[in-house]
C-alpha cells in the first residue's frame, strides 16, 4: 500500500513537471474552465429567470445551484484526474506503448489510471467547491449533512471513474474509441440539473442505466438533509458493484490484448 502511495507521488511529480514545460497551455485551460462554469450558470439562469418559476422539480434556486456545484466539481475531477489517463489508453493501445505498462511489475489498472494529471484544469475543482459553499451558505446545512455529502461524493467519484474506465477499456478491442468519451460527456451533461427536473422515464434512465443521479443529485440531497436512507445506501453499493465489474472487464480486456506490431 505504501509502495503504491510512493508511486502516486512519483507519477504526480513527473506529470506536473511535464506540464510545466508548456506554459501557454495554461491560459487556454483557464479559459476553458471559465467557459464551463458560464454555461452551467447560464442554464440555471434561463430556467429560474422565467417569470413565476421559483423551483424546478421541487428544487429551489439555491438547491439547484448546489447540484450545479457538484457538477462543476465533478467536471474538475474528470478533467484533472480521470480523462488525462483514460484518453491515453486508446493511444497506448494504438501505438503499442501499452506493452510497457503491461510489462511493469505493478498493477496495470493502477498504472493506466494514475500516471497523468491535468493540473491546468485544477481551477474547475475550486470553482465547483466555491459554488457548493455559496449555495450551501443560503440553505440550512448541518455538519452531518456535509459529512454525508462528502462520503456519498466519494462513491460518486468511484462511479464516474468506473464508467470512464469501462468505456476506455473497449479500446482493447476497438482500438479507436475517442467517441466513447463524447458519449459519456453527452449523458453526463444531464447531471448539471437535479434528476427530478426530468420526466420520469429519463429519471429512471439516469438512475439505473447510467447512474448519473448518484453523481450530483444524491450528494446535494444529502447536504440539504433530504436524502432517504435507502438512497444513501444505494450509492456506495452501486459504486462497489461497478468497481468489481469494471475490474473484471479490465482483466478480460488485458487478457485479449493483441499488441500493435513492432
Amino acid at each position: 500500500m505504501s509502495r503504491y502511495l510512493r508511486l502516486l507521488r512519483i507519477f504526480t511529480g513527473a506529470t506536473l513537471s511535464a506540464q510545466l514545460e508548456y506554459r501557454a497551455n495554461f491560459v487556454g485551460a483557464l479559459l476553458a474552465s471559465l467557459g464551463e462554469v458560464g454555461v452551467a450558470l447560464l442554464g440555471l439562469g434561463i430556467v429560474f429567470g422565467q417569470p413565476g418559476i421559483s423551483s424546478v422539480g421541487g428544487w429551489s434556486f439555491r438547491e439547484a445551484l448546489l447540484v450545479t456545484g457538484f457538477f462543476m466539481l465533478t467536471e474538475g475531477v474528470i478533467s484533472v484526474f480521470i480523462q488525462p489517463n483514460m484518453s491515453k489508453i486508446a493511444d497506448a493501445i494504438r501505438t503499442g506503448s501499452m506493452d510497457f505498462t503491461l510489462l511493469k511489475p505493478i498493477d496495470a489498472q493502477f498504472g493506466v489510471s494514475t500516471r497523468h494529471l491535468n493540473v491546468l484544469r485544477a481551477p474547475d475543482l475550486l470553482i465547483g467547491l466555491g459554488l457548493i459553499a455559496y449555495a450551501a451558505s443560503g440553505l440550512s446545512v448541518t455538519p452531518g449533512g456535509v459529512l454525508g455529502a462528502a462520503l456519498l461524493y466519494v462513491s460518486a467519484v468511484v462511479i464516474v471513474y468506473c464508467i470512464w474506465l469501462a468505456l476506455s477499456t473497449t479500446a482493447f478491442w476497438f482500438v479507436k474509441t475517442q467517441n466513447v468519451a463524447e458519449l459519456f460527456n453527452g449523458v453526463f451533461g444531464a447531471a448539471r440539473f437535479p434528476v427530478s427536473a426530468f420526466p420520469l422515464p429519463v429519471r429512471a434512465f439516469l438512475t439505473f442505466v447510467v447512474p448519473v443521479a448518484f453523481i450530483t443529485t444524491v450528494p446535494a440531497q444529502a447536504m440539504t438533509g433530504e436524502l432517504a436512507w435507502g438512497a444513501a445506501l444505494a450509492s456506495p453499493v452501486v459504486a462497489a458493484a461497478l468497481f468489481v465489474v469494471t475490474r473484471l472487464f479490465w482483466l478480460r480486456a488485458v487478457g485479449s490484448y493483441t499488441s500493435a506490431s513492432s
Binding site: 509502495r3 510512493r6 508511486l7 512519483i10 507519477f11 513527473a14 513537471s17 511535464a18 514545460e21 508548456y22 501505438t95 503499442g96 506503448s97 506493452d99 510497457f100 503491461l102 510489462l103 511493469k104 511489475p105 505493478i106 487478457g255 490484448y257 493483441t258 499488441s259 506490431s261 513492432s262
Partner: protein, 338 residues
C-alpha cells in the same frame, strides 16, 4: 544439445499463436463493406516453435519480416497469450505476468519508446526506479555503470524530445535494463541508428551480458549486430523454426558469398563482368556482383587490375539476402541442427 543444464533460462516447446485478422478491400467502398461486415481470417503467426536457452546465452533470432519473431518475443515476455504449446522463462509461465517474473525480464523494442517525451530521461529512470523498487545504492551503481558503457554523460538532463534517435535509444536501453533483468528480449534495438550508435548499443549489450550473466534474445536486420553478439542463431520463417545452430554453418548453408560494389571510371557491360562473379548488375558507372566468400580478395584484385575502378567495396550479404538464399520461395525445410 547434450550439455543442457536442468533449468534452462528459456524453455519453449511447440509454441503457437494464431490471430484473427480482418481483411479489407482497398478503396472507400471496401472500407464501407468492411465496416458493415468484417471478414476475418485465422493467421498462424507462430506454428510450433521449440528451443531451449542456457542462462547467459546470447542468440540471434532471424527471419524475414512477418516471420513471427516479434510475436514469439511478445509471447515470451508475457504480452501475448500463446494459442498453444509451452513457454517457461526464468522458471515462470510468461502469460501469467507475475510481478516476480516481470522483475527478471525486459523487452526493448527499437520502434517503441517508454521514456516520457517531455521530460529528461532521468525523470523516466526515477519512475522506473520506483516501479521496480530499486534500492538507492543499487540504482546509483547501475547508473554509473550504464553512463560509463553507453556514454550517457550530458544527455540525461535533456528533454527526451530534444535527443537524437541514437541518444534516445541509449536512454531507452538504460531505462529498460535499470532493474538488472536476467532475460533480455531485444527486438530490433539498433533499427535506424548510424554505424557508431549501432556499435555502442552492441558494446553495451555485450558488456551487460558478460557482467550480469543475462540471457539475451536479439532480433535485428543488421548482420553486424548478430555476428558481434550471438554465437547461436535461430531462424524462423513463416512461423516455423528452420535453423538452429552457429553462425558459420548458417552462412555456409546459405552459400551466400559477399557482395562487391564497384564505382567505375568508364562504362562496362554486364557480360564483361560475368567472368568475375554472379548476379551481376550494372547501372551506369556503378556495378555490383556476388563472389564466393573464400575468393573475395582474389576476385577483387583481378577486378582492380583488369578494369578502370574508382572505388571498390566488399559487403556482407544482408540477412535478408541470406534469408532469400536460404528460404527464397520454398516451403520451410525441416529443422536442421548444426
Amino acid at each position: 544439445m547434450t550439455t543442457s543444464p536442468p533449468d534452462p533460462a528459456v524453455h519453449v516447446r511447440d509454441l503457437r499463436k494464431a490471430y484473427a485478422v480482418h481483411e479489407k478491400e482497398p478503396g472507400f467502398m471496401g472500407s464501407l463493406r468492411s465496416f458493415v461486415s468484417r471478414k476475418t481470417r485465422q493467421v498462424e503467426a507462430v506454428r510450433g516453435v521449440s528451443f531451449d536457452l542456457h542462462p547467459g546465452e546470447v542468440v540471434g533470432f532471424l527471419g524475414p519480416n512477418g516471420a513471427g519473431k516479434t510475436t514469439t518475443l511478445k509471447m515470451l515476455s508475457g504480452l501475448l497469450h500463446p494459442s498453444g504449446g509451452e513457454a517457461r522463462v526464468a522458471g515462470f509461465e510468461p502469460r501469467r505476468r507475475e510481478a516476480a517474473f516481470l522483475r527478471q525480464i525486459t523487452l526493448v523494442m527499437g520502434q517503441k519508446q517508454q521514456l516520457i517525451w517531455d521530460l529528461p530521461a532521468l525523470d523516466s529512470f526515477l519512475v522506473n526506479q520506483a516501479i521496480y523498487e530499486i534500492p538507492d545504492d543499487q540504482y546509483r551503481a547501475t547508473m554509473r555503470e550504464f553512463t560509463d558503457v553507453l556514454g550517457l554523460d550530458g544527455i540525461l538532463k535533456k528533454q527526451v524530445r530534444k535527443l537524437s534517435l541514437g541518444e534516445r535509444m541509449k536512454c531507452e536501453l538504460a531505462a529498460a535494463l535499470l532493474h538488472r533483468p536476467k532475460v533480455l528480449f531485444l527486438d530490433e534495438p539498433t533499427i535506424g541508428l548510424d554505424v557508431n550508435m549501432q556499435e555502442s548499443v552492441r558494446a553495451f549489450v555485450r558488456d551487460y551480458n558478460e557482467r550480469h550473466g543475462a540471457t539475451v534474445i536479439l532480433t535485428s536486420h543488421y548482420m553486424a549486430d548478430v555476428t558481434a553478439l550471438a554465437r547461436r542463431i535461430l531462424v524462423i520463417d513463416q512461423g516455423a523454426l528452420v535453423f538452429d545452430g552457429d553462425l558459420g554453418s548458417l552462412a555456409g548453408q546459405a552459400g551466400a558469398g559477399k557482395t562487391i560494389r564497384l564505382q567505375l571510371r568508364s562504362p562496362v557491360t554486364a557480360q564483361a563482368l560475368a567472368g568475375y562473379g554472379q548476379d551481376v548488375s550494372v547501372d551506369g558507372l556503378s556495378a555490383q556482383l556476388r563472389v564466393p566468400r573464400a575468393e573475395v580478395s582474389e576476385r577483387a584484385a583481378r577486378l582492380l587490375a583488369d578494369l578502370d575502378v574508382a572505388d571498390l567495396t566488399v559487403e556482407d550479404p544482408s540477412i535478408e539476402a541470406i534469408m532469400a538464399d536460404l528460404f527464397g520461395h520454398r516451403t520451410p525445410p525441416a529443422l536442421e541442427r548444426a
